[in-house]
């Protein structure tokens, strides 16, 4: 840090405080998901239940996982569809 920064405060656009905040947000999503694999299993079962109202899906081949890039986390689901139900769309009106 320069003498100028010490006297008048840093002039960086994205502060290290903000960087720490954003990094922690991402890492904690992963930490929390890792300590509770049963939560991921619950999410998976709930998704199967909802989707099954509309489509015939391959439950065994289905995968869900948390994936992240530098500053965001996404829940990515890969759900193979075997068939579409005839009554899809009217079921849950």
């Amino acid at each position: 840090m320069s003498i100028w920064d010490k006297l008048f405060g840093s002039s960086n656009n994205r502060s290290s405080k903000q960087i720490a905040h954003d990094r922690l947000k991402v890492v904690l999503i992963h930490d929390r998901a890792n300590v509770s694999p049963d939560v991921m299993e619950h999410i998976k079962n709930d998704i199967i239940e909802v989707i099954s109202h509309y489509m015939d899906i391959d439950k065994n081949a289905m995968e869900i996982a948390l994936e992240n890039d530098a500053d965001s986390v996404a829940l990515v689901a890969n759900i193979p569809v075997n068939n579409m139900r005839h009554d899809a769309g009217v079921r849950r009106r």
Partner: protein
Amino acid sequence: MGEVIVITSGKGGVGKSTTTASLGVGLAMRGKKVALIDTDTGLRNLDILLGLERRIVYTLVDVAQKRVNYGQALVRHKKYSNLFLLPTSQVADKTAIEPEQMKQLVDTMRNEFDFILIDCPAGIEQGFQTAVIGADWAVVVTIPEVSAVRDADKIIGRLQAVNKDIKLIVNRIDPQMVKAGTMLDMTSIDDILSLPCIGQIPDDREVINASNQGIPIIEWSNTAAGRAYNDVVGRICGEDIPFKPFETEGFFARLKHVFGH
């Protein structure tokens, strides 16, 4: 019936024992009858922070294993006669006390004390289970560093799994760094951990100066950290105390720092 609070953190060295000592003295200063229990068996420190290290006869291990009753192991504070320490053993290890023994002890002691503060060891192993089991709620102490906040989150998960209410204390905040945007502040830590905060303690050199002499910083009411701890004690007692902004150094004080180093 007394209230039992466990002071925990996950990461070591963030000020758990320092916080326990100051909160204990602060509650005693308000006339409460207080017991502090050190559960960091093998690495005890609450005794030295309170200036009671030469008065220990029996320990928590003796009590848990029913060799003596807790009254024989309690050490009375030199200045505050309504404050007691239940020290732990410096030679035994964390497996010497079973969680169930600790719960029984705490439930017995509740009848005699207004507050029981349990100083938890770092980590998430058996020592943590033992310290936490008998508590009504938990204080999680952290500091504005990414490693400490991450470990705090892990501990919070463990505490929520056993249905403990949790309140946060952010220790060792440097107001200058917060102002400069180079340190996490209380609001951002609140946002990350999603917990109510009951204390923000400024980084204060006087904490070490006081602990050198066996004095918890709260006794020095003219220090920044001492005042902040006093506010925490008030909040624990149910008082509505707003968070005050930290005093930051003015231009000339900063000038002194720049040229003083």
